[in-house]
């Protein structure tokens, strides 16, 4: 989509899709509608088929059950190849929260080595490997006031809600550098997973990292759409979507 060779007088229209196959997509749409980005007006669109995806400039993959989102995508005609092509394109801005982070990884495995990665990951963040549910089940879900220096008002903590959250297993170096934007303190991070992990040796140093950026791609293992704070969406739109078109 052409965002417009405007002279800077007229605001350009940005269509940001939110994948609406399953999960908490409506919250992301409400957030996007609240954003005020200078020089642009944002249209948020619920995306359920390849035609709707085609009309989007950028995409959010929301939280939900990653297995369910994968299965529905597999069985919606044309959807899976369209999604894979979209997220793999480095020029396409994509933001994944929780389940979205799992789907944007190179590979994923269930925490505790319960099962091998079933090929559900769609890619997008090159070099990222993810543990599903490493933080445990619902009884281990928690909130934490996270320090994120890159956001506006960096001194105000971000109330991060972690629901059966995934964790970073390891980060492989590639051409595109992965920035670590936020980490949990060590006492909140689960114990290293057992050695029989289906993903191989984990990198313990990366386990506390909960927010990552690679070019136009952003992932968080928590749910900003549940805390009533739009600063992460604002960051993504500013730095990954509209910056240097």
């Amino acid at each position: 989509m052409t965002v417009g060779a405007t002279t800077g007088v007229l605001p350009s229209r940005l269509v940001i899709g939110v994948l609406a196959l399953q999960g908490a997509f409506i919250e992301h749409i409400h957030y996007l509608e609240r954003l005020d980005v200078k020089g642009h007006y944002i249209t948020a669109l619920a995306v359920r088929n390849p035609e709707e995806l085609e009309s989007c400039h950028a995409l959010i993959i929301p939280g939900g059950e990653s297995t369910a989102i994968t299965r529905v995508a597999d069985r919606t005609p044309g959807m899976l190849p369209a999604l894979q092509a979209f997220v793999a394109d480095p020029s396409r801005p994509v933001y994944g929260t929780c389940a979205g982070m799992i789907l944007m990884a190179d590979a994923d495995g269930v925490g505790g080595g319960k099962r091998k990665n079933d090929g559900s990951a769609w890619g997008g963040m090159t070099g990222l490997r993810v543990w599903r549910n490493l933080y445990g089940g619902q009884l281990e879900s928690f909130e934490f006031p996270l320090h994120i220096p890159s956001l506006s008002e960096p001194h105000r903590p971000f109330n991060a809600i972690f629901i059966r959250a995934p964790a970073v297993h390891s980060l492989k170096q590639s051409n595109a550098e992965i920035e670590r934007l936020a980490s949990l303190p060590p006492d909140c991070v689960p114990a290293p997973p057992p050695a029989d992990s289906p993903l191989g040796e984990p990198d313990i140093e990366t386990t506390p990292v909960v927010m990552l950026r690679q070019g136009r791609k952003l992932v968080t293992s928590f749910h900003p759409e549940l805390s009533g704070d739009t600063r992460i969406h604002e960051y993504w739109v500013k730095h990954c979507v509209v910056a240097a078109q």
């Binding site: 919250e27 059950e65 529905v72 281990e140 749910h223």
Partner: protein, 332 residues
């Protein structure tokens, strides 16, 4: 905060502020001291339900069925020894399932696992929390353990889902600590009429409330026997302040899509899948129908060649005439 986001404040167990919690509410589990995290807050409890939206939660009786459900794209499974239609057939007292059976299912799937306890049976709920289920359904499908009181659900770290027939009942359950609501419908019948009735009743009351002044809302709160602050919040949001699913009698993809068009956030399917001719296929079809509920062309394709649906029990002919137990009448 926009008008579209819930800001429920409970008299007890309030939604947690951003500040680190003190030791009293700190979870303790192996491998993580978690000294500065807040677990089991209302935000965390309702948060999981938010992630289940647009999805299907399926009743399963063993590991094999749980795997079929997960493969079909269920967002969660409800582990129980007998699905509602079989409880109906067998009669007698229906209780919490064997924890060993629930644990097997937890170990077999990566999606959340729910389990049912009897209405008012605090100890069954404590046991299910100890087993490590992700959600508890305080369910009218099981025989009531207390015919006056529901469980005080704020005291638990695990979240609860409860059934309702109307707005007053939904808000009473939320007031007790339920983090998710579902219609009661009439479980184990395969007749969707009661689920439709309950969903329409909730929506009707919400529309009424949304048009009212404060003075009128006080009167409505009395009429509905609902806490005023929750009614006020519901009127402001123009929807229930927690996630609300359909349940009780959903048997086909069209039933599921109907409930979604009536404004439900997702669907529970109890007996409808594993009592049908081809459970795996029907399970997949219902999952697709809940995503594409507004696309009739897609629904037509999804509904093709599913084999026989579960044999239904007409609510009007069997339940209302007293030949069958009305589960929806349990609890209020």
């Amino acid at each position: 905060m926009s008008a579209s986001e819930p800001t429920i404040v409970h008299s007890t167990g309030a939604a947690a502020p951003a500040a680190p919690a003190n030791g009293a509410t700190t979870p303790s589990f192996p491998g993580r001291s978690g000294a500065s995290t807040a677990g089991g807050t209302f935000g965390v409890k309702t948060g999981l339900a938010q992630m289940l939206k647009g999805g299907v939660i399926m009743d399963v009786m063993n590991v094999e069925q749980a795997k079929i459900a997960e493969e079909a794209g269920a967002v969660a499974v409800m582990a129980l020894e007998r699905i509602p239609a079989n409880i109906r057939r067998d009669g007698g007292v229906a209780r919490m399932s064997d924890p060993a059976m629930i644990k097997e299912i937890i170990n077999a799937v990566s999606i959340p696992v729910m389990a049912k306890c009897r209405i008012g049976h605090t100890v069954e709920a404590q046991i299910l929390q100890a087993v490590g289920v992700d959600y508890i359904d305080e369910s009218e499908v099981l025989t009531m353990a207390d015919d006056q009181h529901h469980i005080g659900k704020h005291a638990f770290k695990v979240p609860f889902v409860c059934g309702c027939k109307n707005l007053g009942e939904a808000l009473r359950r939320i007031s007790e600590g339920a983090a998710m609501i579902r219609t009661k419908g009439e479980a184990g019948t395969g007749d969707v009429v009661e689920a439709v009735k309950h969903q329409r009743a909730v929506r009707n009351d919400i529309r009424r409330a949304a048009a009212m002044s404060d003075e009128e809302l006080y009167v409505l709160a009395k009429e509905l026997q609902a806490p005023y602050h929750l009614l006020k919040e519901t009127a402001r949001l123009k929807r229930l302040p927690v996630v609300a699913f359909a349940a009780g009698g959903v048997a086909t993809p069209a039933d599921a899509a109907l409930m979604m068009q009536l404004g439900c956030d997702g669907v529970f399917v109890g007996s409808g899948i594993f009592l049908s001719g081809d459970p795996a296929k029907r399970a997949r079809a219902i999952v697709q129908a809940v995503t594409h509920y507004n696309n009739p062309q897609m629904l037509a394709e999804i509904s093709e060649n599913l084999g026989p649906a579960m044999v239904g029990i007409s609510v009007k002919d069997e339940v209302k005439t007293g030949h069958q137990t009305a589960y929806a009448d349990r609890g209020n």
